[in-house]
């Protein structure tokens, strides 16, 4: 079988997805045997100009991680879509917007103000902020435009498959590679490299009757390591999250925050979590319910921690 032509790219990301690929360890040599890596800024000498020169659809598969935060991210997303047969949104940021997507709770001006004007360590009497173009004595310098809104990959280009996770579980990455190499890909638009179950379906913690009488915060309480975190009153997104990570945050004894995205058939992860949790709150009066839920601060960043750009929430409504 001919080697597949593979591309990989990061947009607005932390590098954790690339480390996850490295965490397949010795299998990385098998990857090199199965695929010709034609674009992977971390690993190869190919450049934007080389991608631009490629005929359309030259790459069989591109694993694209990171959100679309700025002008350059958007340009590369469009360029790689044009050059790639099968484009995979790899990791939470490309899949749903991820942690960088939390910035959509604010706007560009607020972010610039916090970082460049109001920071307690700032020395900036002239209120300088970065500019797209700057004249220096020797000529002009340019920066990519910082967009007002963070988008997930499929809000910018057409996406063929999604690999969830922040970062994706290295054990499942190999499965993704095998699926791609075998050519036996599922229906376009599918989530691959994950489970069809929810986190709760696979979590090994002891479960009893779910009746939440009190929400607790990890700041001031210590969870029991054996029983269901939600039953103990600690927020856990397992009920509204697809499995596939080996429930690593429940095993860390702090609870899931939803990086694997909604389970099959669920449109908005936050709404799903909200309704699931509302149904197990032990309150027979509205007053009691309000009191219970009132103890839960910042619900949007618990329920949509990784998925604000993917959610129906907009900046205006927030």
């Amino acid at each position: 079988m001919a080697k597949i032509k593979l591309g990989a790219y990061w947009a607005s990301a932390c590098g954790g997805c690339d480390v996850a690929i490295l965490d397949i360890n010795e299998k990385i040599l098998d990857l090199a045997a199965a695929a010709d890596i034609l674009f992977w800024p971390i690993a190869t000498d190919f450049k934007y100009a080389d991608v631009e020169k490629m005929p359309d659809n030259h790459l069989d598969v591109t694993l694209f991680n990171g959100a679309i935060r700025n002008e350059e991210n958007e340009h590369l997303a469009k360029l790689l879509r044009q050059k790639t047969k099968t484009l995979v949104a790899f990791g939470s940021c490309a899949h749903m917007g991820g942690i960088p997507g939390l910035a959509n709770l604010f706007n560009r001006e607020q972010i610039f103000k916090a970082v460049y004007l109001d920071s307690p360590s700032i020395d900036n009497k002239d209120s300088t902020v970065p500019h797209r173009t700057t004249q220096v004595p020797e000529g002009e310098l340019t920066l990519p435009e910082f967009h007002n809104t963070v988008r997930k990959l499929d809000q910018v280009v057409d996406v063929d498959y999604y690999v969830p996770g922040c970062p994706p579980n290295p054990k499942r990455i190999w499965e993704v590679v095998e699926t791609i190499v075998s050519g036996k890909l599922p229906k376009k638009g599918s989530v691959i490299g994950a489970s069809e179950m929810t986190q709760c379906d696979e979590c090994k913690r002891k479960k009893g009757e779910k009746k939440i009488t009190e929400f607790k915060r990890l700041a001031t309480a210590q969870p029991d390591p054996e029983t269901c975190l939600l039953e103990q009153g600690f927020l856990c997104m397992g009920v509204a999250t697809r499995a596939g990570c080996e429930h690593r945050c429940q095993r860390s004894n702090t609870g899931c925050r939803g990086c694997y995205g909604p389970p099959p058939g669920v449109y908005d992860q936050g709404l799903k979590a909200l309704s699931a949790i509302a149904s197990v709150v032990d309150a027979d009066t509205e007053e009691k319910a309000a009191q219970l839920v009132g103890a839960l601060p910042d619900p949007v960043r618990y329920f949509n921690r990784f998925s604000i750009p993917a959610s129906p929430l907009t900046r205006r409504a927030l």
């Binding site: 690593r248 860390s252 004894n253």
Partner: protein
């Protein structure tokens, strides 16, 4: 005047960019280093419960998430006015030592070693870790993969996750380790220590035994005269997790030292229109722009600066390596030769592995007493650790419910923004000469000036093969036409 654009510097995380301006004769007039990235964590953690912040700020960097996790974790302890029990502190430091082993192995072998093993101006097609496979055989490279994986596995055992841990909580950690796990970590730590010792020997055999490389390290192409910062314990030995933050001057004399909560008295940051990254400097000296010398407040924060800012190492093999480092490089402190940073990183690798083993041998790390629950009203706190690439500061203010009202982050590599910019300009000025043809070896020599800092906006650079792909366009400024393109 001509312009050389090095864009994209693809093995930087995001898209670092270097603009070199030449005068009509072809000499370097100026060089600018730009960081075109911003995500705005300082803003978007506002309003969050502060105990959630350590598990969000890990996403600043997927290569050094443990540094962000712990700096934020220490800040959150301070916000809640709680002192974690000894087991929690030791477990955090154990986990962090394993993190250093992972990070320093990755940087040295994937990035630095190819320049020395293959040669700075060798064929770029083989100047990468796959080239190392060809030259040294698959065995040594498999050892690199194996030991980086062991360090990742230790972090996973201790915290529950290798990347993006969710484990530190105010007053300690969310889970401990069992006695069986502790014994397993001892075995893995011993293997990591042997590997670290071997790495130091490799540096001896490949670099120090080769006069050309020693001359390169000692040349003035890669040299800056700045202040140095590093965290030290009570004996002024290097420590990655806790201690005083000490600044030494160009003569190795202590200028100042501060505790976590005092950082604002000593560090300030400038903004330039052409970069999204800020420029920190020492307030005691002041901002003089991108220039070195004793009147400029720029400082380095790196393995080299940590060694320069300390009086020694806390573990025996690392101490021996430390003494040899200074004896070989002129016998006095500070060492100003930037390429020595690679060697300093290996001295730290030995220390990290020794410390890892020392902590794993302490039965207290397996104690179930790994958390003190906070009882005080949350207010404000600062947490500082030494990230592999330099001192890392997290600062949070909260309301009485512990919801963040303000956050400030001074990230490892940010400290080096000024020094990296200067190092690039200096290397470009030394390497690019009027009337001389621009070759790929020249590009790599410029590239080596920032690679030695192991910059963290290059999160992912640590990890895999390859020399950095570069394109240099030499453009006729008057007509805008590309006169020459050099790629590799």
């Amino acid at each position: 005047m001509r312009t050389i654009s090095i864009d994209p510097i693809t093995r930087l995380e995001g898209h670092g960019k270097i603009e070199i301006f030449l005068d009509d004769a072809g000499a370097v007039k100026n060089a600018y280093f730009q960081v075109p990235e911003l995500r705005g964590f300082e803003k978007f953690v506002e309003g969050m419960p502060v105990e959630e912040v350590p598990r969000v700020v890990t996403r600043i960097c997927g290569v050094c998430p443990a540094a962000h996790h712990l700096a934020a974790g220490k800040a959150v302890d301070a916000v809640y006015h709680v002192d974690p029990p000894p087991t929690a502190k030791k477990l955090r430091e154990l986990y962090y030592s394993a993190h250093y082993v992972h990070s320093h192995i990755a940087h040295f072998y994937a990035l630095a070693a190819p320049d020395f093993v293959m040669g700075p101006d060798s064929d770029p097609a083989t100047r990468n870790i796959l080239g190392l496979v060809q030259k040294l055989g698959v065995g040594p490279v498999a050892e690199v993969i194996k030991h980086r994986a062991l360090a990742q596995e230790i972090q996973r055992m201790v915290s529950g996750r290798a990347t993006h841990s969710v484990w530190t909580l105010p007053g300690g950690v969310s889970k401990g380790i069992t006695e069986d796990e502790r014994k397993d970590i001892i075995v893995k730590a011993k293997a990591c220590l042997e590997f670290a010792k071997g790495s130091l020997k490799l540096f001896d055999d490949v670099v120090l035994a080769n006069k050309a490389y020693v001359d390169l390290i000692l040349s003035d192409t890669y040299e800056l005269d700045t202040y140095y910062i590093g965290t030290v314990d009570e004996k002024n030995h290097v420590n990655f997790y806790h201690g005083d933050h000490r600044v030494v001057d160009q003569n190795g004399k202590e200028l100042l030292r501060y505790k976590d909560a005092e950082y604002l008295q000593h560090i300030a940051e400038r903004v330039e229109k052409y970069s999204y990254l800020k420029f920190p400097y020492l307030k005691a000296i002041g901002w003089k722009g991108l220039t070195d010398g004793k009147d400029s407040g720029l400082y380095q924060a790196s393995p080299l600066s940590r060694l320069n800012a300390a009086d020694g190492m806390a573990t025996p093999l690392a101490q021996a390596a430390y003494e040899r480092f200074y004896a070989t490089l002129g016998g006095k402190k500070p060492v100003k030769k930037l390429l020595a940073t690679h060697w300093a990183r290996l001295v730290e690798l030995v220390y990290a592995a020794e410390r890892l083993l020392e902590l794993a041998n302490d039965p207290e790390v397996a104690s179930p007493n790994f958390r003190t629950l906070p009882t005080a009203t949350p207010t404000e706190g600062v947490g500082i650790v030494e990230a592999p690439r330099g001192i890392l500061t997290h600062h949070f203010k909260t309301d009485e419910k512990g919801l963040v009202t303000q956050a400030n982050l001074i990230v490892g590599t940010t400290n080096n923004h000024g020094p990296i910019s200067m190092a690039i300009k200096k290397a470009a000025q030394k390497v690019i000469k009027p009337g001389q043809e621009v070759g790929q070896g020249m590009l790599n020599m410029v590239e080596m000036a920032f690679r030695l800092f192991d910059p963290c906006f290059s999160c992912a650079t640590h990890s895999l093969p390859g020399s950095m792909p570069l394109t240099v366009d030499i453009i006729d400024e008057r007509t805008g036409t590309v006169l020459e393109r050099v790629s590799r």
